[in-house]
Amino acid sequence: MSFRAAPLGACLALAALLVLAVQPAVAHHPVAAKFDDSKQATLSGRITAVDWANPHVHVFFNVTGADGIETNWAVELASAVELAWSGWQASSLKAGDLISVSGPTARNGSHQVWGTRVQRSDGSDVFTVRDDVFASRATPLRGPTPRWPDNQPRLGPPPGETGYWALPERTALVEDGVSVAMDADGLLADLGDAGKVAPLQPWARDLYVLRQRNFLKDDPQFLNCIPPAGPRQFQSPFGFQFVEERARGRIFLLHAGGNGNWRLLYADGRSSVGQVTGNDDNPLFFGRSLARWEGDTLVVQVSGFNEGFWFSNGGLPHTRLLTLTERFTRSDLGTLHYAVTVDDPGAYTRPWTSSWDLHWVAGQELPEYYCQDNRQ
C-alpha cells in the first residue's frame, strides 16, 4: 500500500486536528450538569478506593474538615479509556495514597468533585488527561480512497490493515450554513441562538431550550446508558467502524461509544422492514436502515425510530415521524464525509441537513468502552 503525499492536505488535516485538540477532553457526559464551575475547591486526604471503570473513573478519599470530622469524597474523572491513553493505569493510585484534588464541586452540595487536577503528596500530577487525547491517536493521512476490486469504495480498512473512524469535526447537530457558538457537548453559548440551530417547531424549540437550561442533565444516555443513536453515533469521540459483508449485502456499523452496540445496514436491495422487531408497534433506537450506493456515496434511508433517546448531543428533540437520509462519502484514505438530512414533521418545520467530516485512526482498534461498566 503506498500513500500519495499531499503536503497541503496534510497541513489542513493537521490544522483540523489542532482545532479539535483545544476542545474539552471530556466530550461524552455533560459535566456541567453535575458540577458547578463557580464552586471550585482544593481538597486533600487519603485514598480509600479507586474504581477504574467506564464511563467515568472514580477515586474515593477521606477529607478531614476544619471541625476535625472525616468525610469521604468522590473524585470523578474522565473515562478509563482516556486516562489509559494519557498513560495511566488503575494501579497508578491505590488505597492509602495521599492526594490533593482541585476542581469544581457538585451543584447539589454532595461530597463530589470533578478532578481537574489530582496530585500525589510529592506534588506530582496523576490521572491527568492530555488535552489532545483523541486527536493524538490519529496521524493525518492523505491518499486515494481504498477500493474493492469492483472499484466500489471501501468504508473499512484496506486489506491487511486496521483502523477506525473517529475525530468528528462537529459534535452536535446544527443546520449547515448556520453559525452558532456551542461547546463539544452541544451546550449553546447563548440560549437566544436556540431557534437558529435547526428549523424547530415552537414546542420542540421550547423543549430544546429546557434541556439546555438544565445543562443536559436529562440526557437518557447520561442517565441510563441509552444508546447514542441516529446522527449521535457519529459524534462520539470513541469512534466507529464499518464491517462490509458484501457477499450478504450487509454492512455492520460497530460503535465504540455508548455500549459498543452494532447497527445493521441492509444493502441487499430489500424494500420492506430491515430488522425483524422494527415496526409501528416496536420502534427502534437505531431504526431500520436500507442502504444503496450512488456513485461513491453510500446512501442510507433510516426510519422506525423510537423517542427514547436523544439523536444529537445538545438535546435537539425528535419524534417517531423521524426519517433520516445519511450519506457517507470516503473522499480519500483518511476522510469520511457524513451528511444527514433530518425529516421529522413532528418536530421541525421542514427537512434540513447537517454535515461534517470524520478522520481515520490508522493501525488501531476501537477502544473497549461500555457506558454500562460502572452502573450497578
Binding site: G160, C225, R248, F252, L254, G278, F285, E365, E368
Partner: protein
C-alpha cells in the same frame, strides 16, 4: 423481603427464563437428516447461512454445569459436567455458594454488562460469526445482553503482554481441520462464566472450540483454565442450534431496564402475594 417471597420470585424468574428459552428454541428437527455443514468456495466451514439464506445461532443447552442445588436445576441437568466435579478453589466455591444464597441476585448479565467467553455463546436471542478472511479476523456478534461484538484475530498474532483486563479479553483463532479454535486471555473479573455464578480471575485463559457438525448444529466446547480460581483446567460446552430464516435484531438491554429492580429490588413485588 421474606424468604418465601424471594423463593417465589426466584421460581417465577426461573420459569420466565425457561419460557424464554423455550420460545427461542428452533423448531423441531425435520424428519430427514440435516444437510451437511455449508462451506465457502475455498473449502473452509461456513458458520453462516448458505447463499441466499439467512439464520443465526441459538444455544440449545444452556449451562456449563449440572447444579442440582440451583433454582435452575432442571435446565442445568442437561449440562455435561456436575458442579461437584468442578475443581473450584475453596474461596471460589464459597463465592459461588454465596451467590446462590442470594439467588444469583448480583448477576452482572442482568445489569446489561457485556459477557465474554461461554456466556456470549449462550446468548438467548442468538449470535452470528462474521468470517472476514480478507481482514484475517472474525467478529462474533450477539443480539442479546449488551448487543455488542467481539473480535477474533486470525492473522497468527500472539497475545500482547500486559493487557488491560476487559470484558472480551484478547482472542486469537486458528483452524484445526474443520474446527475453529479460539484462544483468549485478558479478561476482567466482572463477568460470570455461566448462570451459576462461577467466578474467574484475571488469570483466566479460555480455549474455545467451534465445530459445525452439520447445517443445524454447532458443537461448542470450552476449556476454562484459571489458576486463580480453579485447582485444574476443566472443560464443558453447549450444543448450539441453527435458526433458519431469522435475522439478528435490535435488542437494547438498557431500554426500560428494570430487571435489577424487578428481580432483586425491594418493593416492586410488594403487591405480589406469595
Amino acid at each position: 423481603m421474606p424468604t418465601l417471597l424471594r423463593r417465589a420470585v426466584a421460581s417465577a424468574l426461573a420459569l420466565g427464563l425457561a419460557c424464554t428459552a423455550a420460545l427461542a428454541q428452533p423448531p423441531a428437527a425435520p424428519k430427514e437428516p440435516p444437510r451437511p455443514a455449508p462451506r465457502h468456495a475455498d473449502g473452509r466451514i461456513n458458520f453462516g447461512p448458505p447463499d441466499g439464506e439467512v439464520g443465526f445461532w441459538v444455544r440449545r443447552t444452556a449451562n456449563l454445569v449440572v447444579n442440582p442445588d440451583s433454582y435452575e436445576a432442571e435446565r442445568a441437568q442437561r449440562a455435561p459436567v456436575h458442579i461437584k466435579d468442578i475443581p473450584l478453589q475453596d474461596w471460589a466455591l464459597k463465592l459461588t455458594n454465596f451467590r446462590h444464597d442470594l439467588f444469583l441476585a448480583s448477576e452482572p448479565y442482568t445489569r446489561c454488562k457485556p459477557a465474554g467467553g461461554p456466556r456470549q455463546i449462550m446468548s438467548p436471542y442468538g449470535f452470528e460469526i462474521i468470517d472476514l478472511p480478507e481482514l484475517q479476523r472474525l467478529y462474533i456478534v450477539t443480539t442479546s445482553n449488551a448487543m455488542t461484538y467481539r473480535i477474533v484475530y486470525m492473522d497468527g498474532r500472539e497475545h500482547p503482554q500486559n493487557l488491560t483486563p476487559s470484558y472480551f479479553g484478547h482472542s486469537v483463532g486458528h483452524w484445526e481441520g474443520d474446527t475453529l479454535v479460539i484462544d483468549s486471555v485478558g479478561y476482567n473479573e466482572v463477568s460470570w462464566q455461566n448462570r451459576d455464578g462461577l467466578p474467574t480471575t484475571e488469570q483466566l485463559h479460555l480455549v474455545e472450540r467451534f465445530t459445525r457438525r452439520d447445517m443445524d448444529t454447532l458443537d461448542y466446547r470450552v476449556l476454562i483454565d484459571d489458576p486463580g480460581a480453579y485447582t485444574a483446567p476443566w472443560e464443558s460446552g453447549y450444543t448450539v442450534g441453527w435458526t433458519p430464516g431469522e435475522e439478528l435484531f435490535e435488542y437494547v438491554c438498557q431500554e426500560n431496564n428494570l430487571s435489577p429492580d424487578a428481580m432483586i429490588g425491594e418493593g416492586r413485588y410488594s403487591t405480589v402475594v406469595p
